[in-house]
Assembly symmetry: C2
Homo-oligomer: 679 residues x 2
């Protein structure tokens, strides 16, 4: 049987220019009985359990692009990966095409394995090309599988899907999409089906791209979304790509609803949160019990996971506020211009498109973020943590129930917990904005993974309070205490206290230190501060540290301008504060400092969407484009330009034309985004 | 002498965990005499000319991270690269550290070279670790250089500079910046200096990262910015990193000037363009002569390169318009909120930071883009094409002369033509926004290269005109002609004409076809259109084609909604037009279509900053965040939040606190960004 499987694999030879590695996984041993009956894996994540893997190398993988013999480095790194997997206790087998019956590059991989590296290098250039067919080749070819020589050469321009299910409509879509090289692809798909019948999962991937060669095989076995995964077991739900398409399509309808209808949906969801709280709390109980039994979550994380009747009530109240904000969010006119006679231009707000929100632990995030998406007319993909799977599921069901009242159920999709964040971050052109909601580590990871999709968020909050020599004692003490101690883990908490040199050895300074001691704030000394002291607290390791706890750094500066320089150098452009009674100094600080939030005589803790009065908070951004600082609903909006004419053409405005530009500003209703108009 | 050089190279052994490849290049043969006297290269681009290259592999490069023997794949791919370089006619030499006297992983690379691949694989696991020291090692060690065993181990956490010049202040900065592993680094720097004295250029690079291993050596020899380049010849000007820092610093001063001062600078530049036109035109003449003599530029490109007295005049007029727009750009209050009693919040416009503008051919781009940057208070790095080097140099000098009048000369920097666009796109954290100005190919290349820096621009303009069955004949003909023929190469020109099915075989349809024929527009048929015709024009290859010429696709749709679907599927969300007399149909189209610009009964050619009345045009963006459609000065601005209090703290607003949030909107002056207020 094993041999037979090997032969079935040999079917997948890439006779194309395509450079591909074929992987086949069959399970044994620990696997459930069903698998032994020849069922292929349903999901990539199961590939980790594969016990027997056949790696089939296309000829392009084995030979060099410049036709100068064997791709020695590539080959060796593949062998290394196979060795790693073998050492993990799997049965590994490599088969190559031998395929160079094409005539151009005659591979002699069996010979290579017998010859020394030095020989291979020396002979690499020309010798291999001209060598005569040795006895070994017959065997090599047998291993590689003759059958494939029947399939016509294809092309690798055609992009394969992430996952391919036979019988799925994709098999048709695919065939029509890729006009180039259908022959080769058809043969491959047929071969894959043949293998699937035998219960073998197949992955076809590019094996020559220099950025992946070194880890393509191990990546595939780890379940990463590399190449195309063939499976005859179709998972219950739609793929994440299908979900994104469904969301985008329903999202367009959501965006075209009346503001009152969007508000309606949010209020319905708010109602459901309290009406159906028993269901929610019972699902949450399951998650809590599971979390406690596995003991993997810290007490703080357990607290965030847990829902209560009162949490649901305040969540519901928050949603009703978002419903109010939603009234003037989409379709607001920002600018009106009479371009010319009977040619009028409007700039109006529109949704961004499809958002992906990735959140950890806190299931209350789900209805909140959903309400923000609905209010702004955006489609939404939600990816929550495994630990909250049951709670998230019921909350998502209620959200879709609310969306249904205006026929846009699919606008918000919950992504399977199986999907890797990394893979989601690669869905460019499908997702328009990613919003991570969680630890700064999560944000950093996502910023790194999402190369071509913008990420709204901040990974660091290194906030400063600068106490000027003309500061009021009371205000300084109050503001420092609040900035550091009100909620030390918040991103808008103070991490570094900058003190004007003249304050050293004054009563104010002693009062600050006393207060910090009373509040149990651990003090680290900046190098300049330390140099002023006979006995200094431990010196900071870095002036760019986010303690996120009852700890802070104190550093001394000679002037307000030096404080500004310090903050530019070590800060994260989040929120920085000056405490002074001198208005000129304050205004200079506010003007010169290049941070998202700059405060005069106010605690850094005010840097927050609710406190700013933005109505609903999407997050805080330290990016420099789009939205900056606390972001309200308008951070989820973009604009479009609407021009209405009566047959106007650019030629009408040329020197020979009859028209002239007026560019007259027309009044627009002054409603501020996301704010309740009170005046 | 050769041997001696080899020994000097052997100094650079990485005795750290750092994984590094050392490259040494000395020139011979074709090189000027000066080089033979032992001068190292001044710039990486010269590495291409290297005739003799010694590649020194650190132990981490040679051995596997998991301590399971030799890194076979890595080693082989390095050998492959060296072979490629050798085959180019260079003298190549590989030396390894042998360095594993550390005891953990005993390398036997000489043995490996003699043993078969299969042997190496079999023995890889344990055998090599335990092998006894063979005779060969003495030789290997000699080649690798004993001296290094004297230097203490360092760390590779410390980031090296792109280029290292001894005697430069960097050598000091560097030492203090990297506290970790100074020992190892010091030793390396000393060793590099030793080699430089002998006239050898040195590059130290990471040789183990899987994404670079396959091409790190060839990349270095091709002059790419990989690792750290050591040179004792310091190029005349500052490095691009230094230029960026200078620009950012002067840019902050520029941003803090009064609007009148920025306007002043722009007007001065406008004056200089006409006052000093002889200098400019003579520099431009040089560029033109050079371009003509090399014959590399097409007539169209030559035309773009050439300046004239009248071009300079209209450039100067354009600058004065930007000067006007600049008056209310930076520091404009967008929103004012009374958060609480005596706690007031403002959201104001501020510059984005440092812009990088990459432009081709057209040197008139330089003063124009400079004026936009000055108007918006941004620092600017300019990267122009080699073909316009002389013209760009004088234009940049004049720009700096204008900037000098308010002491901000360095805010705009011209980057050397030597710098690769790719390298510039990697300067994350130094550059805040990239604006490509040139072909859609340039934009695409930059979007690909700039992974973590936002790019403002559009790479495609696939614009549609949909002619509804209720369209006016006159308007349809006028709009189609203007959209396609006014300037076919523009991004806002029509590429696909969608026609309602009911119009087929009507006089209107015939008139459209006649007009397109008269205008010499080549017609391609969409599949549905083709199916309606007995004899159809050539069918389109793809419905998503930007012809950029007197060509277009015609396709038939059954309804306005089908037109919307078609545009969503094949368009680029740039500009799309409906021609109809039915207002309901038009408003539905305008509402449902998700493009940056949606027009009713107006030519697609109006999608333009000047025509929209934005005052100054930065570009057109098809991105969905930040700026969308034609972008005026506000596309170069972000916002910051200014909060002014009297010692307010978050705790004051807690349940126990004495204050309550008011969140009262306060009026702001309604000046629209970049627009001349006429009402």
């Amino acid at each position: 049987m094993y041999l037979q499987k090997m032969f079935s694999c040999s079917q997948f030879l890439a006779r194309t220019n395509a450079m591909q590695a074929f992987i086949r996984a069959a399970s044994q041993g620990k696997m459930p009985l069903a698998r032994a009956h020849g069922k292929s894996f349903a999901h990539r994540s199961e590939l980790r359990q594969a016990k027997r893997i056949v790696v089939k190398l296309g000829s392009a993988v084995v030979t060099r692009g410049d036709e100068c013999g064997l791709a020695l480095g590539r080959l060796a790194s593949i062998v290394e990966q196979v060795a790693v997997l073998q050492n993990q206790g799997r049965e590994m087998m490599i088969v190559t095409s031998g395929a160079v019956a094409f005539g151009k590059q005659r591979l002699r991989h069996e010979i290579l394995l017998s010859q020394s590296v030095r020989q291979a290098l020396h002979s690499g250039q020309n010798q291999l090309k001209d060598m005569s067919l040795p006895v070994l080749e017959a065997r090599a070819c047998a291993a590689a599988g003759q059958r494939l020589y029947d399939s016509p050469p294809g092309s690798d321009d055609a992009k394969l899907l992430d996952t391919f299910y036979p019988g799925d409509q994709h098999s048709i879509t695919y065939g029509t999409k890729s006009r180039v090289g259908i022959g080769g692809m058809e043969a491959k798909v047929k071969a894959a089906l043949w293998a699937l019948q035998g219960g073998t999962s197949v992955v076809i991937a590019n094996g020559t791209h220099p950025k992946v060669t070194g880890h393509v095989i191990t990546d595939i076995v780890e379940g990463k979304k590399v190449g195309t995964f063939f499976s005859e077991v179709k998972p219950a739900g739609p793929t994440v790509e299908q979900q994104t398409e469904m969301a985008r399509s329903a999202g367009r309808t959501l965006a075209s609803l009346e503001p009152e209808q969007r508000s309606d949906i949010i209020c319905t969801l708010a109602d459901l949160l309290t009406e159906r709280k028993d269901e929610i709390l019972s699902a949450n109980k399951k998650d809590m019990e599971h979390a406690v039994s596995t003991g993997r979550l810290s007490p703080a994380m357990l607290k965030r996971l847990s829902l209560s009747s009162s949490k649901l009530n305040s969540l519901s109240i928050g949603l009703r506020q978002i419903a109010v904000s939603s009234q003037d969010s989409v379709g607001r006119v920002l600018r009106r211009t009479r371009v010319a006679n009977k040619l009028e231009l409007e700039q109006i707000t529109v949704p961004i498109g499809v958002l992906l929100v990735i959140f950890e632990s806190r299931p209350d995030c789900l209805p909140q973020v959903s309400a923000l998406a609905i209010a702004s007319g955006n489609a939404l993909l939600l990816k929550g943590g495994k630990e909250a799977a049951n709670t998230n599921r019921i909350l998502h069901e209620l959200t879709q129930e609310a969306l249904s009242i205006h026929g846009v159920k699919d606008a918000i999709q919950l992504v399977s917990t199986r999907e890797e964040v990394e893979d989601l971050c690669r869905l460019e052109k499908m997702i328009d904005l990613i919003i991570p909601r969680g630890s700064s580590q999560l944000v950093r990871d996502i910023q790194r993974a999402a190369k071509s999709i913008p990420v709204l968020g901040h990974s660091e909050g290194i906030c400063h309070v600068y106490v000027d020599h003309e500061a009021s004692v009371d205000k300084a003490i109050k503001i420092i205490r609040d900035s550091k101690c009100d909620y030390p883990a918040a991103c808008n908490a103070m991490e570094t206290l900058l003190v004007h040199r003249d304050l050293l050895r004054t009563p104010l300074f002693d009062q600050i230190i006393d207060m910090l001691r009373t509040e149990h704030v651990k003090i680290h000394a900046g190098p300049k501060f330390a140099s002023y002291l006979t006995f200094s607290p431990s010196e900071v390791k870095s002036l760019r540290t986010e303690y996120g706890d009852l700890e802070c750094c104190i550093e001394v500066v000679d002037s307000m301008l030096e404080a500004v320089d310090h903050i530019h150098k070590y800060g994260s452009s989040h929120t920085d504060v000056i405490v002074t009674e001198n208005e000129d100094t304050a205004e200079q600080f506010l003007q010169q400092l290049d941070s998202a939030c700059v405060f005069w005589n106010a605690s850094s803790r005010f840097a927050d969407g609710y406190r700013f009065g933005l109505g609903a908070e999407v997050g805080i951004s330290t990016a420099r484009i789009h939205a900056r600082g606390p972001v309200g609903l308008e951070g989820l909006l973009t604009t479009k330009w609407v021009l209405r004419g009566e047959g106007h053409t650019a030629a009408d405005f040329s020197e020979q034309g009859s028209m002239t530009y007026l560019h007259e500003n027309l009044p627009v209703a002054q409603v501020l985004p996301g704010c309740r108009t009170t005046s």
